[in-house]
Amino acid sequence: MPKSVYIHIPFCKSKCLYCGFYSKPPNQYDVKKVLNAEIAELKKSSFSKPAQTLYIGGGSPASVGIDSLCEFLSKVVELTGKADEFTVEINPADADENLLVNLKNIGVNRISIGAQSFIQSELDFLGRKYSVEKIDQTIKNAKQAGFNNIGLDLIFAVPGSNLSNWRQTLKKAIQADVQHISAYSLSYEKNTPLEKTKSAGKVKAVDEELDRKMYETVIKELAKAGFEHYEISNFAKPGFKCRHNLTYWKNEYYLGIGPAAASYIGDWRIENISDIEKYVEYIEQNENAAAEKIKISPLEKASQTAVLNLRLIEGIDLKEYQQKTDLDIYKFFGKSIEKNLNLKLLQLKDNRLSLTKQAMPIADSVLCDFAQPD
């Protein structure tokens, strides 16, 4: 039974250029009805109570309004019990003092702030509708409200940016004295406005060499500032790794609630229908909201576990791997392991198989070797 619960709030006041998530403007929907449907879905889903981790993501959860969000979260907590780690994503555009205080009162104990950049021109380019000052303010409000586990999301390799811009963002993020930082290279997801302008030749991605340098810079700078690099894009102060996200990379079960949310339960990977209206309709008719349900074979599980574990800096714990998958990793990936060890892209230490430093910027070229048996 899943111990982790993810709840998707599919609303956002304005969509960012690069965002590939499913979200819609809240004013076009009967938000109450949608949130009620999510509560109904949660009610009939099974997971272990109290949930160990609870993660509210979006969209922008706060875009539905403080009152609606708080009312919703109270109902959620009634169902899940008090989670050890209870995260809510915050878009600075939708955050104010009140919001943070209220969240704290409901029992939220971790805040993940989608800051993205401390350079105004980059925020504007990305279509983020707030100022750099608003980020500072949001962090301050969160601390004042009593949060001591705050995460910041950052994006690098934004077209037009350069290494000193990126250093500037990193410096401010470190100064903000938060516990967790995720740093993503901007990706050009299919069917996003960003990807379309790029294909049309109107924007140009930063060149690979700079992208790599920026990545190496974040690794170096955050290490200096006392952050542990624990996943390809994630960094945490000691004791503050995101436990919810670790569920994914350790390939453990999780429950996803809401339109487009994904679950992994009992060897099934399930994805809910993304269309909000259809989702509500299904739930109201007491039907299952799954749009896709894929049975994961033992071999696929072996592949997925390897790929996901390798995203962690600590890599694959070979003993644990054997126990969990009941499969011999060398039997299926022996050739790939050997080859990548020789190329110094993988390393074997203390019965753990992990990416080397030089493999991290090109991790997919190694991970793909584990996507299916040799």
Partner: protein, 598 residues
């Protein structure tokens, strides 16, 4: 059946002119196949034939038809039109007295029309000219009839005008087959002689020999002798293709059918061999056939995820059904163990490669095809090589000879200029030009096979708006000023990328090869230098930059399924590659060195 009531004929034509469709019509009209079981181009039974819409293997079928109260047995052989399968056509002809020469009414006489017509004349076949597709709006049956008369010397008034699609004119044609084509010549020697003109392999019954009985009779239980190999077998079943295999009690002189005699491997028989009875053998075997001549050679290596023994088993299985390709073990310093294979042409090669992979679930990496060269060493020793890597040291070579062909091109006259330009570039020498009609010509060249066997045809189509067609025939070896280009990948020579070319174009070609390779080899985790060398001297360099960033930034719960798919595809892409040192070279890279386009 009385031998006077038997007709044996084949259908020959340029590719796509409608042979198989005409065969369909005849099968339906004679009631050999009923509407319910019918499907289009029904004699094209192989998957590859149906998918590509072309005939690859000749098929024989027996039909019965009653005319004026007399029952006739009509044995038809549908032949392939593509130049690579000429050999199949000439084999089929030895089992026939007549040929239907089909010409597309909208396309006219084409290169293989001419080649096949001459083949039929050489085989002493009676020819019935058939103009097909007269239903097409662009049909010009009159013009085409003129062409047939002009170029082939066949009276234009003898042409039958048909549409194999609508069925128009088919009945008249069918009756002409009976009235116009001669019955088999009665061979009065009483000993049994049967020509093996084709064969295929059945997993359960072993080798099925397709035979044409020249004299005598065959019965089940007969002990037979293969006159060429001197092996003997016992006939377990005789039959006819209708078009499925149908058992019969006896095969008589003049008839066409199949023989099953517990022959376990195809290499135990030779196409063209003569079957006779062991107890009363014929005095002399039939003339038989020349061995097929492999025109192009290429190495096949197991892909990253296939092993050698598996590949060998696959080749053995395929060779049971196609005796016209060859394979011998080959060991390349760069690519390891594989096979050197010979094919009748590029289409034949493509088909073998596709069947190999598809029917056996394996992946092969194939090197660029090359022709055979003749080496004369300073010691006087002369031998042939079919791979640039077999070339001896420069100092040992007294002479290097390359194969030449007679090349025939039929094309609209306004494209002559373009064709002359192309042929000059390809070292072809014009021998003659004949007008086959006021608007079309036939050009004959002497051409080095190496220049025309790869992308010549595509280029020809390109410069003639698709109208030109070509045919070629091997004539002999000739001395050429040839050199070998070696390619170094990551500082090491990759023998499978070597190429023998004419000195006049060698440097330009070497540079082009590198440009093509740079595009074909994916970027790696490190930089890869590429070099081209002639006789040890580096003549060109390129390099493939390392990729610097290849990582998915976010991978959370909702991304797993999608991301796994993408990674799987990335891994599959690597499978069709060959590891040479730490460089992965994809299949296309080996082929890309032949690409001379810009």
């Amino acid at each position: 059946m009385d031998i006077a009531n038997i007709r044996n004929f084949c259908i020959i034509a340029h590719i796509d002119h409608g042979k198989s469709t005409l065969a369909d019509r005849l099968l339906l009209l004679t009631g050999t196949v009923n509407q319910r079981d019918f499907k289009e181009q029904m004699l094209d039974t192989m998957d590859i034939e149906r998918e590509r819409g072309i005939t690859v293997k000749a098929s024989a079928v027996t039909m019965l038809y009653t005319l004026n109260g007399v029952e006739y047995m009509l044995n038809l052989i549908d032949t392939p039109g593509h130049v690579d399968f000429h050999y199949e056509v000439s084999r089929s002809m030895a089992a026939c007295e007549g040929a239907l020469l089909v010409v597309d009414a909208s396309q006219g006489v084409e290169a293989q029309t001419v080649a096949n017509a001459y083949l039929a004349v050489d085989s002493d076949l009676e020819i019935i000219p058939v103009i097909n597709k007269i239903d097409l709006p662009a049909a010009q049956p009159k013009v085409v009839a003129e062409e047939i008369e002009h170029i082939l010397g066949i009276n234009k008034n003898e042409c039958f005008h048909i549409s194999a699609k609508s069925g128009q004119g088919i009945l008249e044609l069918l009756e002409a087959i009976i009235t116009f084509l001669p019955p088999p010549v009665v061979d009065l020697t009483k000993q049994t002689k049967a020509l093996i003109f084709d064969s295929h392999y059945d997993e359960y019954r072993g080798v099925i020999c397709y035979v044409r009985l020249i004299s005598g009779r065959l019965n089940p239980g007969d002990k037979i002798l293969m006159m060429g190999s001197n092996r003997s077998y016992q006939v377990s079943e005789l039959g006819k293709f209708t078009p499925g295999m149908k058992k019969i009690d006896s095969l008589g002189a003049g008839e066409v059918g199949y023989v099953i005699a517990n022959i376990r491997t195809l290499s135990d028989i030779t196409i063209g061999d003569t079957i006779t009875l062991a107890k009363e053998p014929a005095k002399k075997a039939l003339p038989g056939y020349k061995k097929p001549l492999q025109m192009v050679f290429s190495d096949f290596y197991p892909g990253n995820n296939t092993d050698y023994t598996h590949l060998r088993a696959a080749f053995e299985k395929l060779s049971l059904n196609d005796a016209s390709f060859t394979f011998v073990p080959q060991n390349s310093p760069a690519l390891g163990f594989g096979f050197r294979c010979g094919f009748l042409g590029l289409l034949h090669m493509e088909i073998i490669q596709e069947r190999l992979e598809r029917e056996n679930d394996i992946e092969v990496v194939q090197t660029a095809p090359t022709v055979t060269y003749e080496v004369v060493e300073t010691s006087g020793e002369t031998y042939r090589i079919d791979s640039p890597s077999q070339l001896p040291e420069k100092t040992k070579i007294a002479e290097l000879r390359e194969p030449f062909v007679k090349l025939e091109i039929i094309t609209p006259k306004d494209t002559i200029g373009n064709i002359m330009k192309l042929s000059e570039m390809k070292r072809c020498q014009l021998i003659r030009t004949d007008y086959i009609s006021p608007t079309r010509v036939m050009m004959e060249f002497r051409a080095p096979l190496a220049e025309i066997v790869y992308d010549f045809y595509d280029q020809l189509k390109g410069i003639s708006r698709g109208y030109a067609t070509m045919d070629y025939e091997f004539i002999g070896f000739e001395v050429g000023d040839l050199v070998k280009i070696d390619i170094l990948v990551n500082k090491a020579i990759v023998d499978a990328l070597s190429l023998i070319v004419h000195r006049s174009i060698a440097e330009a070609r070497g540079r082009k090869m590198l440009v093509k390779l740079r595009k074909a080899i994916p970027r790696h985790q490190f930089e890869i230098p590429l070099q081209a060398a002639i006789g040890g001297k580096i003549i060109a360099r390129e390099s493939i930059k390392a990729f610097r960033k290849d990582v998915t930034a976010k991978l959370y719960g909702g991304d797993v399924t999608r991301k796994m798919k993408v990674l799987k595809r990335q891994k599959e892409g690597k499978k069709r590659m060959k590891s040479i040192g730490s460089v992965q070279i994809p299949q296309q890279a080996f082929m890309s060195i032949l690409d001379t386009s810009d």
